[in-house]
């Protein structure tokens, strides 16, 4: 990992987060912590700008999930866990909820997290991995990455297709992977129409200049 690159990105993410807190009269970030590498990376970047007290990591234990599963018969435990985490973040006093998802996951997942701040939302999964030591995404996105031949190949194609606006940008992918990307982008189109705060790091940024 490049320290200089980490410092550059962290400065942008931190400045945008500080402004988001000021604009909303909030005091700290409530970061949805799923235990993934992006949650850890987000926490480190945000703490650098806001101090350790400026970030609360919202976690949920297995026992807590078990205790409420009966309230939603048939719901998948992981979905219940996500919703408890989300509720806790919303209810944290004086806090602004943030979701640590990376750009690859946000673009190819059918739904956009409702949290108003997506601190890593303009970092491709492979970029988040370079800075944070790993990447994560919902199962659908992981499957597409596998079809593509790996996350680096998928992100390179997405950079061409999305960032450089090259209509043939997905051509480097195997046909089934390219079709899966097109399908995933179409499925999430409505969810991406409403802007959230994504610190602008790259060329096209959700809610800033990426509205597809």
């Amino acid at each position: 990992m490049s320290d200089a690159r980490f410092a550059r990105i962290a400065a942008i993410v931190g400045a945008v987060a500080r402004q988001a807190l000021a604009d909303r009269g909030a005091e700290r970030i409530a970061l949805l912590d799923d235990g993934g590498p992006e949650a850890d990376l987000s926490a480190r970047m945000l703490a650098r700008a806001l101090g350790e007290d400026g970030v609360i990591r919202i976690t949920v234990s297995d026992a807590e999930v078990e205790s409420v599963l009966h309230l939603s018969p048939g719901a998948a435990p992981d979905d219940v866990r996500d919703e408890i985490r989300r509720m806790r973040a919303r209810l944290a006093p004086g806090a602004l909820p943030a979701h640590p998802g990376n750009k690859t996951a946000l673009l190819l997942n059918a739904t956009l997290p409702p949290e108003p701040l997506l601190p890593l939302g303009d970092l491709w999964a492979s970029e988040a991995a370079e800075l944070g030591g790993g990447w994560s995404a919902p199962p659908l996105v992981c499957r597409i990455a596998e079809q593509a031949g790996g996350i680096n190949a998928l992100d390179e194609a997405l950079r061409a297709f999305v960032d450089r606006r090259d209509p043939g940008g997905l051509g480097a992918l195997p046909r089934d992977a390219a079709d899966a990307v097109r399908g995933a982008l179409a499925a999430g189109r409505a969810a991406r129409m409403f802007p959230v705060i994504v610190p602008k790091v790259g060329t096209r940024t959700l809610g800033v200049d990426l509205f597809d």
Binding site: R8, I12, A15, V16, Q19, E127, K200, V201, T203
Partner: protein
């Protein structure tokens, strides 16, 4: 108050972070900068684009605008000359993104931004009317100055017009967002978008033998961080001063007409320039377009 410049100008770029929508705070901030500048013998302060209002004004554009007047901000009457960025409405109530050179609080010159970026992350065409003229003005001591705002610099025809009209100093206000922080800049800075600005400023300076001063803003609005990196380029194209990114900073540089003359003596670019040829060819092209 400055009565007019001498052959040298002590110029200060005030790289600042305007507060979006808070005109009182921003004018107060600029007035404080004037007081500091007066103590430092500064003749001219340059602030960034829309330094009085903040950048992403959207529907507040009319609430933040002032009617074009001779003395729009009385609080800025007391110090050295200052170039501020403001929103003015004309007699038809159209708001313009405007650079104002104030001397003793009175407007010495105004430039309404011509090229309003309305693509990618920019939406200025939704909020502002488009300026329709480029004029150089006399600022005293023999100095002729031209003002441009941000995107205007990316249209070299505008700086050409100012050079052809006799400018010695081009002042560029900008609110350039930081982009490409993954890659970083060629010089190790934070933003890959920096080098292009430097290339543009230095190219204009060396081609026309003029000083080029870029005052870019810092601070954050929504998801965007503004890039800073303000600079002063000499008439020989050399970078005389450059600010860092993200933080407020001041650049203070002494400019002289003698340096302009020295930069032009080895060449004959200004002498040989042929605006009539440009005019003829443009007329032909426009005629062919129909």
């Amino acid at each position: 108050m400055t009565e007019g410049f001498g052959e040298t100008i002590r110029l200060r770029v005030e790289q600042m972070a305007p507060v979006l929508g808070d005109v009182d705070a921003n004018v107060g901030r600029i007035a404080a900068a004037q007081r500091d500048a007066a103590a430092d013998g500064v003749n001219l302060i340059v602030t960034p684009e829309l330094s009085v209002t903040g950048y992403d004004v959207r529907d507040r554009v009319h609430a933040l605008a002032l009617p074009a007047s001779a003395e729009p901000y009385p609080a800025l009457a007391g110090g050295p000359d200052v170039v501020v960025g403001a929103i003015e409405v004309d007699g038809g109530f159209v708001p313009y993104n405007t650079a104002l050179h104030l001397r003793g609080g009175r407007v010495l010159h105004r430039h309404r931004k011509v090229y309003l970026p309305t693509y990618g992350m920019f939406d200025e065409g939704r909020w502002f009317g488009r300026g329709d003229r480029m004029r150089v003005y006399d600022a005293g001591g023999g100095w002729r100055i031209g003002l441009v705002v941000c995107e205007d610099l990316w249209h070299p025809a505008l700086t050409y017009l100012l050079a052809a009209d006799g400018a010695h100093l081009l002042i560029v206000q900008s609110a350039g967002a930081g982009r490409g922080s993954w890659a970083g800049g060629e010089t190790g800075g934070r933003f890959a978008s920096w080098p292009a600005w430097e290339h543009l400023a230095r190219a204009a300076a060396v081609a026309y033998g003029v000083y080029v001063v870029v005052a870019n803003r810092v601070g954050t609005e929504g998801p965007c961080v503004f890039a800073g990196g303000s600079m002063v380029v000499g008439p020989d194209g050399e970078l005389l001063a450059k600010a860092d990114d993200l933080d407020e900073e001041r650049l203070t540089v002494d400019l002289s007409l003698d340096a302009v003359a020295q930069a032009r003596r080895p060449f004959a670019h200004a002498r040989d320039d042929d605006p009539r040829l440009v005019y003829r060819e443009l007329e032909r092209m426009l005629g062919e377009r129909g």
